[in-house]
Symmetry: C2
Amino acid sequence: MNERPFHHGNLRAVLLDEAATVVRETGVDGLSLRDLARRAGVSHGAPRSHFADRQALLDALAVLGFERLTAAVRRALGTEGDLSVRFRAVARAYVDFAIDDAALMDLMFQAKTSGRAGSVPAAAGTLFGVLDDAMGPRVGAVDQEARDLFKLLFAATMQGIAALVASRRTDREQGYRLVDAATETMLGSELRERAVSDA
Amino acid sequence: MNERPFHHGNLRAVLLDEAATVVRETGVDGLSLRDLARRAGVSHGAPRSHFADRQALLDALAVLGFERLTAAVRRALGTEGDLSVRFRAVARAYVDFAIDDAALMDLMFQAKTSGRAGSVPAAAGTLFGVLDDAMGPRVGAVDQEARDLFKLLFAATMQGIAALVASRRTDREQGYRLVDAATETMLGSELRERAVSDA
DNA sequence: ACCTGAACACCGTTCAAGT
DNA sequence: ACCTGAACACCGTTCAAGT
């Protein structure tokens, strides 16, 4: 009678939790719905009640990843300091995430994933919005086009560095150095002057 | 008697060719060894004579991708012009490749792929070497650490932009604008002054 | 609403056997 | 050396049936 209600009401959460572990340990390829069901102690058909197919589960996983990364970025933006310090903190959050959850990072930023219409692009959009906020208020004077370009370039650079580190082509320390170099370079650029109102 | 010797001597090449098409059209997930064998008109066990397992075929595919990208980068470096023009050309080659072969690009730069020891990291290394050459001769005076940092940052930025475009989060035109902004920013940076001998 | 369990079609991989 | 074809274990997905 003391058996925890493993599969009553929270099967979805249990499956996602287990899936996150499997992905971290063995990569996305190592993840099977049947194995997940086995781990959760339910029949192999049960996951179907919560996810239309395997890709739907992967999408949900990616969304959770974006939410976690967004939270980490938000935390980083709370750092005391000027734009340079805060951007650096954001960039490090990216790198740390990429290292601790390399396979999930891949899943989140893969071309495949965002081919779909639904929730994954939305979650990615939220992350982007936070980055936008980090650039300070949009005053009418700033060049909106430059602002978008700057934001995209920042995101692309961070993701590129993160991917580099995640793929072990370089290590965490070098990743941090890259992050520092990138923020320094970008913040000292002419583009930034046009994009961001305050300094 | 006029039947082409489809599966005599060049099965390996045929399989890789077919695989490249499938990956482009349906992504890596849509690729199965048995289907490939079917397309080549051989039994499902035949591919085993050329590839130890599915991952070995994917690795070979990634290597071919790196070779093609390396060739494109080499071509771009042949462009007439100063460092700025040539870097921009390289960056555009990256973006074009990412658009035309988004799934292959993913495969090449995925964390998973480079976990392996063998030929994939080597092919990636060759691409890196070409980028290094693009920065001009190493004269003793330049800061080697700055040079490595600059090179990595350039590669990371290009790959980040390429990934952004490949995932359709932005379009080709915006990708080109990002490339221009990135090269301009990086070439005008203090890091570049320390990293590259000539201007 | 959620889960079970049989069924189906498809895989990757192994391996003895052929040529 | 290269390919065939049976065999095995494992999948994703569907669906009628249970509660």
